[in-house]
Amino acid sequence: MMKTVSTITINLLCQALDFPGGKVAYISEMRFISESNDKRIPCYRLLDDNGELIEDSDIDQISKEVAVKMYSEMVTLQMMDTIFYEAQRQGRISFYVTSVGEEATNIASAAALAADDVVLPQYREPGVLLWRGFTLEEFANQCFGNKADYGKGRQMPIHYGSKKLNYFTVSSPIATQLPQAVGAAYSLKMDKKDACVVTYIGDGGTSEGDFHAALNFAAVMEAPVIFICRNNGWAISTHITEQFRSDGIAVKGQAYGIQSIRVDGNDALAVYRTIRAAREIAISEQRPILVEALTYRVGHHSTSDDSTKYRPADEIEYWKMARNPVNRFRKWVERNGWWSEKEESELRSSIRKQLLQAIQVAEKTEKPALGNLFSDVYDLPPSNLREQEKQLRETINRHPQDYPSDVPM
């Protein structure tokens, strides 16, 4: 029996039930909440595909310095990816992961943060390190695992980390950084620091149990953490339609009591503004924020993947050319009179030289010394490892011909 609207309203107003969790109105007409809303959560964007401002009414202009730096770093990231990928193909490094197509998400989000903000990355965010000042040499050293690598040759390529730049070392297991970010944010909160934690995850990573636990906890603990989900459409060969059935990730925020927003991840300006605002809320209100950046993974998952095996080559080409975030931002920067073809070719030529040089030097740099095999397992080296190192050195001294010559003692 259909009740009229007014009858339903009166029922709702008069009869509220008390349950653990608060008062809730009741309704005698059975209604299942739909699995999806009629309209998908809209996507915040400021620049159209041609790099033209859609509406400039509510935008505070970013300065020329910031815009040019953002653009330059996006170009640098793009070129670094191209050249390092090639180096892997040539057998000079063993492995590489590109961020092609996600330059805006990387650089613009980094640009919106402060140096004190703590970053726990997934693995497709080297742009954040780049923005903060990690040099091309430092990237190359890690990829070659040489003695100048801050990681002392302990990890596979692209597992960068920098304590100085507040960027936690990349860790391979997916989504473990999410609850860790909440823990770090709790520590910041106890220190009452004017900073927040920012952690990144891909669309696939949101399927992990850690995603649920992290968002749930962040809300309960009121932790100042920004979760940035790079929804790039693919988790290796798993398309998002096979990853979840929700309206992407932004819709999940409310399920945890977390404010969320969906942004065009390929619009550098929109990403910048969104993260600025998110940071403001996270710190001043001491609460978590969920940002879903829609983008596209133009490259393969890694050098161990050939994505043409599971997606059409023309789809990749479309996103690479027509929806390229670097070109799009370039058009806007140029339209403001802040960039030109001359500066473009100078930048690209300079970066290319630096990259090739960095690789050459990193390749020739000595590998880490033998002692690094045994250090940092614990704060102080335990007796068994000290003994083993001593025995190893003695054995190498007695039989040097049996050991590789490229391991400095």
Partner: protein, 336 residues
């Protein structure tokens, strides 16, 4: 002092001394701890430092590890280490390996504690011993207290240690009382990590044990003494690092070794001790090493079956006798 009190006082004193120390886990706050180990701490230190967590071992362990990455010293409590398996990636891939993988840039001063091994009548999923699982992993330190002195000294050491420590308690020991000296009761009391304790000196056979089995081994020693066998009982205290020098020194004195543990036999703590004795003191052995372990089955529930699945004092006594009277290897005595 009861072991429960010893742990509680250690937590209290370390939290008082260092504001960076915090306790988190299920029921640790309002409920005063599932086994009352954290009694009174919420009231004293407030909800910022004693956190009742939602039910997600993976979640709160990850949060603890993240907090340790960035300046705090969390103590993460597992209601039992059986549940730690849901968080084991955070313990091993994040906590244990991060200092090494980050080349010392990130340290992880975290303690994972809770009851380990069998209780009484709690079945297969609540009775496993995780000592050998965690002790096989470089980057972790693994401690197993027996007495109240152990509980206080080792927990304090664990909390102060800059490396991640797995602290294996025992539910049945919580209610046991041990005499403690004034030194142990002092708030600065601390035991060194990596050093075993000779609980009882002897000259005929060395018996190593940890946690609850130390008590059983001591009882076995009493029985053996009546037979004229003088057993030396070593309380390991530290599973990783293992006090190989102490164990070897003892075996070089007695020439016979029995290892005792509750856990499963394959790849257990006794296997590691046996291998290390063979490596370091082979010539000193007068008999093969005897291993006493839990049965190679998931823990049954029925009380009679459970008793058969766990080492009893008699098993230790028989093993010590075999080690003392037998000079022929077991293999030669088998008829196939």
């Amino acid at each position: 002092m009861m072991v429960r009190e010893a742990l509680n006082s250690a937590l209290d004193e370390e939290m008082s001394a260092d504001p960076k120390v915090l306790l988190m886990g299920e029921e640790v706050g309002e409920y005063q701890g599932a086994y009352k180990i954290s009694k009174g701490l919420l009231e004293k230190y407030g909800p910022e430092r004693v956190l009742d967590t939602p039910i997600t071992e993976a979640g709160f362990t990850g949060i603890g590890v993240g907090a340790a990455f960035y300046g705090l010293k969390p103590i993460v409590e597992f209601m039992t280490f059986n549940f730690s398996m849901q968080a084991i990636d955070h313990i091993i891939n994040s906590a244990a390996k991060t200092s090494y993988m980050s080349a010392g840039q990130i340290s992880v001063p975290i303690v994972f504690r809770g009851p380990n091994g069998a209780a009484a009548g709690v079945g297969a999923q609540h009775s496993q011993c995780y000592a050998s699982w965690y002790a096989s992993c470089p980057g972790l330190k693994v401690l197993a207290p027996y007495s109240s002195e152990d509980a206080r000294g080792l927990l304090k050491a664990a909390i102060r240690d800059p490396d991640p420590v797995v602290f294996l308690e025992n539910e049945l020991l919580y209610g046991e009382s041990f005499p403690v000296s004034a030194e142990v009761l002092d708030s600065s009391f601390c035991l060194p990590i990596g050093k075993a304790k000779i609980e009882r000196e002897g000259k005929d056979v060395t018996i190593t044990a940890f946690s609850k089995m130390v008590g059983y081994a001591l009882k076995a020693a009493e029985i053996l003494a009546k037979d004229g066998i003088s057993a030396e009982i070593i309380n390991l205290r530290s599973i990783r690092p293992l006090d190989r020098p102490a164990i070897n020194a003892s075996v070089r004195k007695t020439n016979r070794l029995v290892t005792v543990e509750e856990g499963f036999p394959q790849h257990g703590v006794g296997a590691e001790i046996c291998a290390s004795i063979i490596e370091d003191s082979f010539g000193y052995l007068d008999a093969p090493v005897e291993r006493i372990t839990g049965a190679d089955v998931p823990m049954p529930y029925a009380a009679n079956l459970e008793r058969m699945a766990l080492p009893q004092v008699d098993d230790i006594v028989r093993a010590a006798r075999r080690a003392c009277y037998r000079s022929v290897p077991m293999a030669a005595a088998q008829s196939y």
